[in-house]
Symmetry: C2
Subunit: 468 residues, 2 copies
């Protein structure tokens, strides 16, 4: 193994190549990541559960599998948001009700990774049932005084901090794309129901969407392939100059902070300078209103949450966060009638926005309000994300820009429903100039920040069966 | 305890009264049902798993709970379709892949029953992942040479045969209402997502709906209450004479057999004779076409099944039924585009059909093509059910009629989305004349059939930990 390669810095695609040609073993790779976690774990606190012994024994098991029997993700470590069931680790959904709970079966999303040979590394932190907006002590790897964003905080932080190359999250509003923006990671929220949600916490059945974090667009494509996320027609390669971008500022644009305004402008400028057409486009009038759109979303997700959380409410409501309890109690007094109208309205909007998307190569839109907020008690707002989640459209976050405090700011690329492969193709083409000229450098910045962070020294916990 | 009461014959509401006033214990009630199962189990074969020891120890545990701590369903036995996870019994989803699988957590639907004090009795048979149209050896309690219908075969048969008063099923097409019609049970498929599907097999995320079987409309209301299925406004009592019925024969009427045609005519005649208005009503033109409507449904459910079953396909496709395998392989070559159009179209239809429903007190429509087919290899067609499942409207089966072979035939009552309580109210009012004059007598017929059936004698298995 070449001396100069730092294994924990590799993307999954890079690591796969070294694993498949025998340059490294799964165990060596896992040990490098565990070392990184030993060094950084107490600062970032990305893990709800991580058992180094289990990781290493799984790694050794994978190393024993003959080459010809290996799956397409053989030996690649993946962090799993702790709302997805894992058969060999506890799953607590961020809730005291499920302290130490051990499911006997993997969630669908996890089982499919495992069948592809992935090394299920550990469980990443989450807010309670993905509902609350604080809770985990997870910090932003680029500034431990800032939130990594929620609710997939641990999955975003672990990938941003080079503790795993890949992780799974789930988004009802903006729980994947927003923390990706805050932590400077690439992330994808594919089309709704592109990945089965079986075996994970439900919040809102018509909005919940599994997504994933990585450190390159290529790696996002790797995961999409594992889940057989395919367009109707194989996507064509599109030269940069032929790309047309619809800039959709959304009805929530007045909420955008300076960092996001600058990032979107910078993205447009960079793309135009490369010959890309960028045209500002409005949404259909029936959803181009801030208040009414936000209410539609709230009415749907709250109404569905009421059903989803009735079970834990009946089991042990005293142990539920007030935010969850209020959902079940229908604190806002939303009616079925209003919810059904909202559902039908969203249903009628989806094809219209697909049509808009089809007129351009891709939609460009904000990923978050601004840089990650200071403090861990406010995990930020999903206001720029929920729309696309509800529209069921695939979204990719490109972590290309930097805010006034040197923190990452992403932009979202969006395509029509089930044009996920097309979106990944375009994201790859656009990532080149945007990442090169946008100002954010994931790795160097991270290292610089590492030095600045007064983290604890290495401890002697490695090898024990403990939670980090 | 009065000598004349045969406990296993009671409805849940009747049993609850005796349990709550201390006339009977949960254990006595459970023993009566176990006796019935011992007598009839080998003929009906309704159970995928039933452990009499577990049932009795649970019953004794419930008997120990002080009166003031008892839930609203205290001691009432419920059969659970074996696609819903149970923490104390195996859950096999009708699949050899999950032979002996033991989930560590109840499905939401089961946990809520358990929290209400229900006695989770056993697991009822199902077709493989609810997909195939044969498999279980479960027979129709009214004629062991006929199917009870699928996929919730065991739940329908167990309630019809007085082996439990209540059971849960799940319906993607007609897996609850059709077996209810075939077995002469009352059943309800509530509005879509009125009960959380967490912890059960997914087939089609936008069609799957949990339903339940009982032996009276009152009992259906009992379960609906447990799940907090409530209308926006408390439903009003409607006198029979003020009821207006929209008779919707559906675009599939040409498929109706003589028994169903007669049942629908008879229902109309009986209701009219009691002063009820019955008016034949067509569906909106865009869904009033047999071929196109059937295709819409197939495109949606197949496309969603492809995602839902990818996991088992990747884990062990050799053990999957060809019908399940073909879904994942997209045997019909349906595109995302067609599926999204179908989803959007269904979305746009729902409010239109709600509007039609709102003009009448209730919709009357067939529950099945005819009597239960002969043989166990064809579990019948869901053609009269899938429409309402996809429309997300609540449906109640009233087992009021009899076909030419003396088998039961039900009719469906349907209301607008989330008018479940209203529907139950109307069903109760309409059940009176229909059940009195329709010709089907559940209990007497059943006893008559019992005598006709050459079942095996009592065996000595009771008390053993075994599967029936």
């Amino acid at each position: 193994m070449a001396q100069s390669i730092v294994l924990f810095e590799l993307t999954a695609t890079e690591a796969l190549q070294l694993l498949s040609n025998g340059t490294i073993t799964v165990e060596e790779y896992a040990r490098s990541l565990l070392g990184r976690i030993e060094e950084r774990g107490d600062t970032v606190k990305a893990w709800a559960y991580l058992d180094p012994d289990l990781v290493l024994s799984e790694a050794r098991r994978l190393d024993q599998i003959p080459l010809e029997q290996r799956g397409p993700l053989h030996g690649v470590p993946v962090g799993i948001k702790d709302v997805m069931d894992t058969k060999d680790m506890p799953t607590e959904y961020g809730s005291p009700i499920f302290k130490g709970h051990r499911p006997s079966c993997d969630a669908s999303s996890v089982a499919i990774l495992r069948a592809a040979g992935a090394l299920i590394f550990g469980k990443t932190t989450t807010t309670e049932f993905t509902v609350t907006n604080s809770g985990p002590e997870t910090t932003n790897p680029h500034d431990p005084n800032r939130t990594p964003g929620g609710s997939s905080c641990g999955s975003a932080a672990a990938v941003a901090d080079l503790q795993v190359p890949l992780s799974l999250g789930v988004q009802t509003g903006g729980s994947v794309i927003r923390p990706a923006s805050y932590t400077g990671t690439f992330a994808m929220k594919p089309s709704h129901n592109a990945i089965s949600p079986d075996g994970q916490t439900t919040f809102s059945i018509s909005f919940d969407t599994i997504g994933f974090f990585a450190r390159s667009v290529e790696d996002l494509g790797l995961i999409a392939d594992i889940y057989s996320i395919k367009d109707d027609d194989p996507p064509e390669d599109i030269p940069l100059k032929e790309v047309s971008v619809a800039l959709v500022k959304t009805p929530f644009w007045s909420k955008a902070g300076e960092g996001t305004i600058a990032a979107v402008e910078q993205a447009s400028t960079i793309l135009r300078s490369h010959g890309v057409t960028v045209e500002e486009v409005s949404l259909p009038p029936d959803i181009d209103n801030e208040q009414s759109l936000a209410r539609l979303q709230k009415v749907i997700t709250s109404g569905e949450a009421r059903v989803a959380f009735l079970r834990v409410y009946r089991q042990d409501k005293a142990k539920l966060a007030p935010q969850v309890r209020r959902l079940v109690e229908n604190f806002n007094n939303f009616s079925h009638k209003e919810r059904l109208e909202a559902l039908d309205r969203y249903g009628s909007i989806r094809s219209k926005v697909d049509e808009i998307a089809a007129k351009y190569t891709v939609i460009l839109t904000p990923s978050a309000v601004d840089e990650a907020p200071v403090g861990l008690d406010d995990m930020g707002s999903p206001i720029f994300n929920t729309l696309w989640t509800g529209l069921h459209m695939p979204v990719v976050n490109l972590p290309a820009f930097k805010g006034e405090h040197g923190m990452p700011i992403g932009v979202s690329l969006v395509a029509g429903r089930f044009r996920d492969q097309h979106l990944l193709n375009v994201a790859k083409v656009l990532a080149e100039p945007l990442m090169a000229e946008g100002g954010w450098r994931t790795r160097p910045d991270l290292v610089a920040n590492d030095n600045a962070v007064a983290g604890p020294g290495p401890d002697d916990k490695a090898g024990e069966d403990h939670k980090l």
